[in-house]
């Protein structure tokens, strides 16, 4: 991500489940239940690793306030799981030694237990506790089986394979752009530019793995600069600014040459790069977060007015990031249908701004109601996709 200019940010995940070192000394976890509307028990309960959660004695289903104290000398992660399904309802991550943390959870009647996961030791399961009673009128906390690194590695690999299959296309697109610039065919070059740029804009979950190539290929101007006047900017936005401001082909050619080189190097080096398993789920919503922030505001535009074409490519890129996660999400995300419908609705809306001749209407051409419809549709979509990132956070197997 560090290049000649700032590129679109890729949020760094905060998972890294248990990055805390552990000394293999019996950690002690004390768990207290606090009074709540559904349950009253004031007695603090202590358990050690051999009996994680031992002594948890809730009396009824419903809202629980749990106070968990890690009295050991090492960091720990604590789950509250269903003993029947393995679904996890509470994940206290990175609970430092000596730290007490409270959390609330609304549980249906059923069988539950705590799982203590020290950073470098096997998980320890606590005794099974049975909750009973009605929870009608209570908004229950949904539980899911945690998504592990092992679950996500095949997904990341599948995504890498797909990206690798697209890179030759990107290289060829960039080559055509470069050739037409050098031939002085600037009308054709503008068309080539869009094709190549849109290809890149479909690869949004891989930008983190692209490293510096991302900035070389698709960097944004530095603060205080435009794409036209940023002397350090390279890549698509620089070329766009030149193609749409009447720059002569001799000035553009070095920049398109550099783009071809960067794309070719990326293609050659990508097999040794790794898409972080976390990134796939995270980028499933971040690609469109970027579209909202940089495209639908017009901020990324360097005079081509192709913002909506980019958003359309970003929708394709979002579906590409989701594709390898489908199996993981099928049993964990009941609203996936709504998310897919929102993506489809957004795509239909965005493509309604494309003329019969294939030309995209510039954002600046749209009136307020049209901008509102676009912002509403993409905003609703990211709201639904944010849950994908939460679900696909990398967690330890219980």
């Amino acid at each position: 991500m560090h290049g000649t200019g700032p590129s679109k940010p890729v949020m760094i995940g905060f998972i890294g489940a248990a990055v805390v070192c552990v000394i293999a000394i019996a950690a002690v976890v004390s768990i207290a239940t606090h009074p709540s509307s559904a349950h009253r028990s004031d007695e603090a309960i202590t358990a050690n690793l051999d009996g994680c959660g031992k002594g948890w004695q809730p009396t009824s289903a419903g809202i629980q306030t749990l106070t968990v104290a890690n009295t050991s000398v090492s960091g720990m992660e604590v789950y509250l799981e269903s003993a029947s399904t393995g679904a996890v309802y509470v994940d206290l991550e990175n609970l430092g030694p000596g730290v007490t943390r409270s959390t609330r959870v609304a549980l249906a009647a059923g069988r539950y237990r705590f799982v203590c996961l020290p950073a470098d030791a096997d998980p320890a399961r606590g005794p099974v506790v049975t909750l009973s009673g009605s929870t009608s009128g209570v908004a229950l906390t949904p539980g899911i089986r945690p998504v592990t690194r092992n679950d996500l590695i095949p997904a990341a690999k599948a995504y890498e394979d797909w990206v690798q299959s697209r890179l030759p296309v990107l290289v060829a697109d960039a080559g055509r752009l470069d050739a037409d610039v050098k031939a002085g065919e600037l009308d054709q070059a503008r068309s080539d530019w869009l094709t190549a740029h849109l290809e890149y804009e479909t690869l949004g979950a891989a930008y983190g793995a692209f490293g510096d190539y991302d900035a070389e290929i698709n960097g944004m101007p530095a603060s205080g600069h435009t794409a036209a006047d940023d002397p350090d900017l390279a890549g698509f936005h620089k070329i766009e600014a030149m193609l749409y401001s009447g720059a002569p082909s001799t000035q553009i050619a070095p920049v398109t040459s550099a783009l071809v080189s960067a794309a070719a190097e990326l293609e050659a080096n990508f097999p040794s790069a790794r898409v972080d398993p976390l990134d796939v789920g995270l980028r499933a919503h971040e690609i469109l977060e970027n579209a909202l922030q940089f495209e639908l505001t017009g901020e990324a535009d360097a005079e081509s007015g192709t913002e909506l074409a980019t958003v359309d490519a970003n929708l394709t890129g979002t579906l590409a990031a989701l594709a390898p996660l489908r199996g993981i999400l099928a049993t964990r995300y009941p609203q996936m249908k709504q998310a897919d419908a929102a993506i489809e609705q957004s795509r239909t809306l965005v493509e309604s701004f494309r003329g019969a001749d294939g030309a995209w209407r510039p954002l600046s051409d749209l009136g307020r109601p049209q901008r509102q419809q676009l912002n509403a549709s993409i905003s609703k979509t990211v709201e639904l996709l944010a849950n994908v990132a939460a679900i696909c956070d990398v967690r330890r197997a219980a």
Partner: protein, 414 residues
């Protein structure tokens, strides 16, 4: 902006229903004459009941902080509009009562922004929903049920309306004792309605404390709202505020109210260069005490009958035009619930501040519009510039846990 013309003292029209408007008193008492300072300064309520015949945020004593946020509905069907109204209701019901946010476990980002801490306090929050005339176009099949007097706010003679800061399908007036509570509520409601609503314009406001006593001051330095009707008086509310399902009004409007919002910029740098006598003559009150110039104390009746030719309070003074205190003007009184705003600077470096004039009317024409017309070209118009706002209709109250904002409107058009 038009060139100011101070000498003839005629120019731009002014303060809508009244520059001299202010919170209905921070506490129960409104600016009711005879109410002690102590009573007006009483502790505000920690929460206001969400369910009732009328919405909160109308007769409710003005909380210190507000956001006026007008939305356009982007929902593309009647069913989706219905879902938006239910979502606003659900969130407002929770937020105005306070409590623990829903726990989503591992499956989603936190349900709550956390801005107010782990347990959401009610903090005097009210969320008042009002519909604009544009909601009654062809999109949702509501045209036949438009409140009879609801229309797009017209440009009055001295206005400089920027339509980007006007109108909208749905106005939320969000008020609370603290500004973080207002912001928290706005974020929560917007998140719950993502896809269905888009903000059209927004202005945040505050009510100043009494300085040193009596009715709070606006940013011209004058007490504003002294002669407001008492919101605690059910009889005057019934005569002046709550719309009735009579005449040409559709049945569903009963219990609602015409809600007028005017964003009135004050040209404060210019105003501060005006002599105190000229300021007071334009308003008709003493700046220090708030008393009408004919009298000594803030809540004194100006007794215009003793000053028929305007020797003391000039005939075009703001308070005299706004409320001439005759039989006719009694029926024209509206319930003002204004907030000051302070929103940065303009392109020339002048301060952008003024008044969010908000008022509630039983009958838009009989009250706000009649008074507004009378204020045309008052001297004050040189120092103020109405730039935004709109006409809305505050929906009837949500009666119970199964009811929702706009249910009577949706039923009436089903």
């Amino acid at each position: 902006m038009r060139a100011p013309d101070r000498s003839p003292m005629i120019g731009r029209r002014g303060f809508v229903g009244g520059l001299v408007a202010a919170p209905l008193g921070m506490a129960a008492g409104l600016a009711a004459p005879g109410l002690s300072a102590e009573a007006r300064a009483a502790e505000p309520a920690a929460s206001y009941p969400f369910h009732g015949v009328h919405q909160q945020g109308i007769a409710t004593p003005a909380q210190k902080y507000s956001a006026f946020v007008a939305f356009d509905v982007t929902a593309d069907s009647r069913d989706q509009l219905d879902a938006v109204l239910r979502a606003v209701t659900d969130r407002a019901r929770f937020l105005t009562a306070g409590g623990h946010p829903h726990e989503v476990g591992l499956t989603a980002p936190p349900a709550d922004s956390g801005v107010l801490g782990p347990v959401v306090p009610a903090d005097g929050l009210t969320v008042t929903a009002s519909v604009g005339a544009s909601l009654f176009d062809e999109r949702f099949g509501l045209a036949s049920a438009r409140p009879a007097r609801l229309r797009t706010m017209e440009d009055f003679p001295n206005d400089a309306l920027d339509r980007d800061q006007c109108d909208g399908d749905l106005l939320l007036q969000i008020c609370a004792h603290n500004s973080d509570t207002v912001v928290h509520a706005l974020r929560d409601v917007m998140r719950a309605t993502r896809g269905g609503l888009q903000v059209r314009w927004r202005k945040d406001g505050f009510v100043s404390p009494p300085r040193p006593s009596g009715t709070p001051r606006n940013l011209l330095g004058f007490k504003d709202g002294t002669s407001n009707p008492a919101a605690v008086d059910a009889a005057s509310m019934s005569e002046l505020v709550w719309t009735r399902a009579t005449g040409d009004e559709p049945e569903w409007v009963a219990g609602g109210s015409y809600h007028v919002v005017r964003l009135i910029r004050m040209l404060v740098e210019f105003w501060d260069r005006v002599s105190i006598n000229e300021q007071e003559n334009m308003i008709g009150r003493s700046r220090d005490t708030g008393a009408p110039l004919t009298r000594t104390h803030e809540f004194d009746d100006p007794h215009y009958e003793l000053d028929p030719t305007g020797d003391v309070i000039q005939l075009d003074a703001h308070i005299r035009l706004a409320n001439p205190r005759n039989a006719e003007s009694k029926k024209q009184q509206m319930l003002r619930r204004p907030y000051n705003y302070d929103a940065g600077v303009d392109a020339n470096g002048n301060l952008d501040m003024g008044l969010i004039f908000a008022c509630f009317n039983q009958d838009l024409e009989r009250q706000f519009v009649a008074v507004q017309k009378r204020l045309a070209d008052e001297p004050l118009v040189d120092y103020i510039s109405p730039v935004g706002g709109g006409y809305y209709f505050a929906l009837p109250g949500v009666r119970h846990a199964g009811d929702y904002l706009g249910s009577s409107l949706m039923k009436a058009t089903a």
